[in-house]
């Protein structure tokens, strides 16, 4: 393999990209505005939750409880009656409905152990648990506070000091921004390298290359190199200019270490793009195949939901995907400030997966050329 051929062919690929202004605009959008929008859109897990209150007691206590649901966690509670409750929940207007029964305050003071009812729309899984926990805590606190007007609190003096590390205010924008950069990296690199190959074949230029003293390895390496570099540069710019400087999100660890990881990840994903292109005969087939691969890669690699909650089998299978390791590395380095001593297993895994992917893709590519 001659470096000169690879560089020349890479230069050709990059020139080709530059000829497509709309594509460049899209790449720029994906790494700037899209990162910003998705970072700012994701709510804190309990944000603006909608709650309806059926207050059949209408006592000072019930009003005190109802007034305790405050933004930004809750939308101002809607005072509704029991007949409206079901309809509103059915229509998805309210995620929670709290029913305060008649004579609640009186029964409470009389020690009759009155019962409050909280209805939760459990199809909104992300809010159901945290919301119910939070509502229950608020109700407890308010009732305890109301009762404590005239009694000293009883209890044990054990305090629980809970602190979040790496993102003390649990600002979801930190997570959203970085996750968005990571998933764009994967998507773009697979599309670019695979589509570049299919395009060359469709236009007959691949055949033309084969009558020249150029080897399959050179052709493939040039695609991996050019598309990988383009995405790597875009990532670096996005992370430093948009995420760090523009949005003011602190990066825990070394951006350089992250970029080394990203480069290895791109080695694997661009090879994967070539592999998919050799399996797909045409661009429409490639598009469908891409969807089939990209969606699980994106969703099951731990970027969207935590890996440990997935079934064991899925967790094991996803170990073969570069994304899983890259996301673990990126989260470690960018959020938790992990250094090389912590993330070296991910680097090794990415290198291994990348090499296997490249070798396999090259093998397929040679067969594809025949």
């Amino acid at each position: 393999m001659r470096l000169r051929h690879v560089l020349q062919l890479s230069l050709k690929e990059i020139r080709g990209l530059l000829r497509d202004p709309l594509l460049m605009v899209l790449v720029a959008y994906a790494f700037t505005l899209d990162v910003y929008v998705s970072a700012t859109a994701i709510p804190e897990s309990l944000n603006s939750a909608t709650i309806g209150i059926v207050d059949e007691d209408a006592s000072p206590l019930s009003r005190r409880v109802a007034d305790a649901f405050l933004p930004p966690y809750f939308m101002p509670p809607a005072q509704i009656d029991i007949a409206q409750m079901d309809a509103r929940m059915d229509a998805g207007i309210d995620t929670f409905s709290l029913v305060i029964p008649p004579e609640f305050q009186r029964d409470l003071l009389a020690g009759n152990r009155p019962e409050l009812q909280l209805n939760v729309d459990a199809t909104r899984v992300s809010q159901a648990f945290t919301g119910a926990g939070s509502i229950s805590a608020i109700v407890n606190q308010e009732i305890a506070g109301w009762l404590a007007r005239d009694a000293a609190p009883v209890g044990m003096p054990v305090d629980l000091a809970v602190r979040a590390r790496f993102n003390p205010s649990l600002d979801p924008a930190w997570f959203g921004a970085v996750t968005s950069v990571i998933s764009t990296v994967t998507m773009l690199s697979i599309i670019l390298s695979g589509a570049a190959l299919i395009r060359e074949r469709d236009h007959g230029t691949l055949e033309h290359l084969l009558v020249m003293p150029v080897t399959a390895a050179e052709i493939m390496t040039s695609k991996v190199l050019s598309m990988g570099s383009v995405v790597l540069v875009a990532t670096a710019l996005s992370l430093t200019l948009v995420v760090q400087a523009g949005m003011g999100i602190p990066i825990g660890g070394s951006v350089a270490l992250y970029l080394v990881g990203a480069a290895l990840h791109l080695f694997a994903t661009t090879s994967m793009g070539i592999l998919l292109a050799t399996i797909a005969g045409s661009m429409p087939q490639f598009a469908m195949l891409l969807l089939l691969v990209l969606l699980p890669l994106d969703i099951l690699s731990g970027g969207v939901t935590p890996r440990e909650s997935m079934p064991q089998a899925v967790q094991y299978i996803m170990l073969a995907a570069p994304n899983t390791h890259f996301i673990a590395l990126a989260q470690g380095v960018l959020f938790r400030g992990a250094g090389l001593s912590v993330v070296w297993p991910q680097l090794v895994a990415l290198m291994l997966i990348g090499s296997v992917m490249f070798a396999f893709a090259l093998h397929r590519f040679r067969a594809f050329l025949r």
């Binding site: 709309l22 594509l23 998805g92 152990r113 648990f129 891409l290």
Partner: protein
């Protein structure tokens, strides 16, 4: 009636691309009912002029009247579109490669609103007349160049046009087919005497057959008049000479009469290229059948033959692109080996179709190829200058090839094939579409190479004038070599006057042997009586819409892999995502840093470890350990219990337990915080109960939590109704998005420009099959949800299905909309992923409810159809709802349908800019 009204009248017509003036102030009157030839060198604006006349290109300046109306007016263009037939330049660029020959013609018939019976009859006639009948079921992609041209003509002629415009129709067509082609045109003209014919051609021998000629150069008209007038004016003996005489002085001066010095017999001896019983089969089809030849050093060896006879396949076998099924090929006495880089460097190869990089400029193409052939930059620069001068490419060095006319592109290909000074040149129809001056210049350099540098040249051509210049030629037909000798000997052998006649003689004899004499192609082409019926004004036509649907669904059916991927893909994705995605936060790993090591502190840790939410990891050793393991993501929660915890508690002194959790993933972190606080409270209650007895914690009230719709808060039951909207957006949009962008890339979009088809018919027609496919996908996903996942539809199935239908219409519409304004397939694909995957997943209400989002995301979520369909899907699956309850979700989706469709129609252009 012929001269009463001109078919085409142009005044001061100009067309500019960037800095190039393609058509420069052209004023002409073309009589109707005549045949008009537009002749001129490459790149003088012939094609641009024709494209303006048929309305494929948007007019810029000047006036143009075609068939009695102003072409600047869309109304007039729509009115006359059914009366014009246009065949664009390039081999079959407006054809659909996966459709068969018959289906291609059929599609055009449908577009022009012909009835089934009439269509079938005309297709039969046309295919018979063009000799394509035996190949009626072959896919257009598998036809040879000449056959594609014939098919293109069939497509143009399927309706009876009043103006037939052919842009270099016979380029790349063999002499026999060419004769047949013109015979066919003559018959059509005889049948339809009022039809005007407008042809551009690079074959001067053909130009003589036209009634009227327009000679063009550099965007300007040099001369118009009958052929005789032009010959007379220039005083030339034939049109070739007349044409050269018409050229401006500086162009003409470059032309010299060719002189071919005889080969030096001393150079004989060494066989450079050898083929021995070469046979190549594709499945049952034998493309090359036992072909043998030897080509000596410095020899120019010509390959002639009908289209599709195996010339290209033979050449590919010589370059190592194809492996012979039988026999051997040798270069310099060594067997051709695809991996032999040294041999590759000695060969220059030029393919039949343009195969250089359209995204690189002419200079960049030349440079890249030089680099790949390991020339140094010091060698490349002067070499490019030399080749640019020789092939007259200096003015276009920094242009993109696709902006250049065919002839110049061919010259560029040649220059590229020569850049590394190869010892062998294998040229597959290198001069197709190149004008006579450029052809002669090109041949001069071939002769120089052969005679002076000893370069061996293997060339295929359809020009007899070129064949006579070869040292030896072979005639090929249906994979076999009919005759191989010097041109002179071949002509004399059959006693023919010209080589052309000898060629036709051989071909006809071979054909007669193959098949019983074909019935003479005398079938009269019926000048359709239904003509007048078809002349309706071009309003919106359901028939045309359906003809697009028919074609699109045919293309879909020709691609079973894609269909399988679409349906199998949704099933696989649903299963993977349904089981894989879990919003539950369980099995969180935690570890304790217990400085107290008392029974009390142990009980605290055990309480946590015993819950299903937390899994205990080996205890932490010190703060450094805690730090490391949290950074590495091994634990998401660390507890620190201070020394003297139990003792202090006993004495009633305030103590604090430290809990650090990983905030990197905010959603998980929130849940962890909730859990740990709950566990802490629970532990405290238990401790108090043990110390103070039950009355201390006698609950003063209870809060009963009811999880509705999904009592077990199972992720699966919640995720399945959300996955259907996600997949029904992604898959139909991805299926649809390539349909328009692909046509733009391959060139068949030109059919929209020049047929009566309207933009809405085009888009909606294309959408229909994708909507059907998308809805079938929905049914599949529904069955999967109910049967495999056991998630029943509790509410109205009808509401869900109707919602799905509207949603699929939107998803495919979105795909077509993106398709309409993107130029390349790559961009279209990336755009689709950006415009479907991200908004549907992040802002579609699948994970977080739209109501709780902020900023732009909220706005996108409210508009984007996914959020509404998620409401419908969850409502019908989980909440037992029907139309009454979900009306609010149908309306925003319905309102989007016309928006998406109309935007698509706006972005698709009816003319090329």
């Amino acid at each position: 009636m012929t001269d009463s009204m001109p078919a085409v009248r142009a005044e001061g017509l100009s067309l500019r691309y960037g800095n190039t003036l393609a058509v420069d102030d052209v004023s002409i009157d073309l009589p109707s009912g005549r045949s008009v030839g537009v002749i001129g060198p490459d790149g003088v604006g012939k094609s641009s002029l024709l494209a303006l006349i048929v309305g494929a290109r948007r007019m810029q300046t000047g006036r143009l009247e075609v068939l009695g109306g102003d072409m600047a007016r869309a109304g007039h263009r729509a009115r006359i579109a059914p009366r014009i037939a246009y065949m664009p330049q390039g081999l079959g660029r407006n054809l659909y490669p996966t459709l068969s020959v018959r289906e291609n013609v059929d599609f055009f018939g449908r577009l022009f609103g012909e009835g089934a019976q009439e269509r079938a009859q005309r297709i039969d006639e046309l295919l018979k007349a063009t000799g394509l009948a035996p190949f009626a079921d072959r896919a257009a992609a598998k036809l040879s160049g000449g056959m594609k041209q014939k098919l293109g003509l069939c497509c143009a002629l399927v309706h009876d046009p009043d103006l037939l415009v052919l842009d270099e129709p016979t380029t790349g067509v063999d002499p026999l087919s060419r004769r047949e082609f013109w015979a066919l045109i003559d018959r059509i003209r005889a049948d339809r005497p009022h039809m005007s014919l407008l042809v551009s051609s690079a074959y001067m021998e053909e130009a003589a057959r036209f009634d009227h000629l327009v000679a063009m150069d550099a965007g300007k008209v040099l001369a118009t008049g009958s052929t005789a007038e032009i010959l007379e004016r220039t005083g030339a003996a034939d049109l070739d000479a007349a044409f050269i005489a018409l050229l401006p002085e500086e162009n003409r001066s470059r032309h010299k009469d060719l002189s071919i010095p005889p080969r030096d017999p001393a150079s004989d001896g060494e066989n450079v290229i050898e083929a021995e019983n070469l046979t190549v089969r594709f499945g049952d089809f034998t493309a090359v059948d036992q072909v043998s030849f030897r080509i000596k050093r410095g020899e120019i060896f010509g390959f002639l033959g009908s289209n599709g006879c195996g010339k290209t396949t033979t050449m590919k076998a010589l370059t190592g692109l194809l492996d012979p099924s039988d026999g051997t090929t040798k270069i310099y006495g060594r067997k051709v080996d695809a991996h032999d880089m040294a041999t590759r460097k000695r060969i220059g190869y030029m393919t039949q179709s343009f195969s250089l990089y359209s995204e690189l400029t002419v200079r960049q193409n030349l440079d890249l190829h030089g680099q790949l052939f390991d020339m140094t930059s010091a060698e490349i620069v002067p070499r490019i200058a030399e080749l640019a001068e020789r092939f007259d490419l200096e003015d276009v060095l920094d242009s993109l090839p696709m902006r250049l006319p065919l002839g110049i592109r061919q010259r560029l290909s040649l220059a590229v094939a020569l850049i590394h000074r190869p010892e062998i040149l294998i040229l597959d129809e290198p001069t197709s579409g190149v004008d006579p001056v450029a052809r002669d210049i090109f041949w001069q350099s071939l002769i120089d190479l052969s005679r002076n540098d000893g370069v061996t040249i293997f060339i295929s051509t359809h020009y007899m004038a070129e064949a006579t210049r070869c040292d030896r030629i072979s005639l090929m037909h249906q994979g076999r070599v009919l005759v191989s000798d010097t041109p002179e000997a071949i002509r004399e052998e059959v006693g023919a006057e010209t080589l052309d006649d000898a060629f036709v003689h051989h071909l006809q004899r071979a054909q007669d042997q193959d098949t019983p004499p074909a019935p003479e192609m005398k079938e009269e082409l019926s000048a359709g009586p239904a003509t007048s019926a078809r002349r309706r004004r071009g309003g919106f036509s359901l028939a045309r819409l359906l003809s697009f649907s028919w074609r699109e669904s045919l293309e879909l059916r020709r691609d079973p892999i894609r269909l399988t991927l679409a349906s199998l893909g949704s099933v696989i994705l649903m299963i993977v995502l349904g089981y894989g995605v879990s919003m539950d936060v369980e099995n969180l790993k935690f570890a304790a840093l217990d400085f107290d090591r008392s029974i009390l502190s142990q009980s605290y840790v055990n309480d946590l470890a015993g819950s299903r939410y937390f899994d205990e990891e080996p205890p932490l050793v010190d703060h450094a350990d805690l730090d490391y393991r949290m950074r590495a993501g091994e634990i998401s929660l660390a507890l620190e219990i201070p020394p003297g915890f139990a003792a202090d508690l006993e004495r009633g002194r305030p103590v604090a337990i430290g809990a650090w959790f990983d905030g990197a993933m905010p959603m998980r972190a929130d849940t962890v915080r909730g859990y740990i606080q709950g566990m802490h409270a629970h532990w405290l209650t238990e401790q108090m109960r043990q110390v103070f007895g039950d009355q201390a914690v006698a609950g003063n009230f209870t809060l009963e939590v009811r999880y509705r719709y999904n009592p077990d808060v199972e992720s699966l039951a919640a995720m399945v109704p959300a996955m259907i909207p996600l997949l029904l957006m992604l898959i139909p949009a991805t299926l649809a998005v390539l349909s328009v962008a692909r046509e733009k890339e391959t060139g068949s979009i030109v059919n929209l420009y020049v047929t009566p088809a309207r933009r809405l018919e085009f888009l909606l027609g294309k959408q229909v099959p994708y909507v059907v496919l998308g809805f079938m996908n929905y049914l599949l996903l529904l069955a999967l949800a109910v049967v495999v996942f056991g998630v029943p539809v509790k509410g109205s199935l009808l509401a869900l299905s109707l919602g799905a239908l509207i949603y699929v219409v939107l998803a495919t519409g979105l795909g077509l909309l993106i398709s309409a304004f993107t130029q390349s397939q790559v961009t279209a694909l990336f755009f689709t992923f950006m415009a479907t995957l991200i908004p549907a997943m992040q802002y579609g209400g699948i994970i977080d409810p739209v109501a709780s989002m902020d900023g732009m995301g909220r706005v996108i979520g409210e508009i984007y159809p996914t959020s509404h369909f998620v409401t419908i899907s969850r409502g019908t699956f989980s909440k037992a709802l029907g139309f009454d309850d979900l009306g609010g979700s149908f309306l925003p989706m319905l309102a989007l349908v016309p928006v998406v469709v109309l935007l698509g129609a706006i972005f698709v252009r009816k003319q090329e800019k």
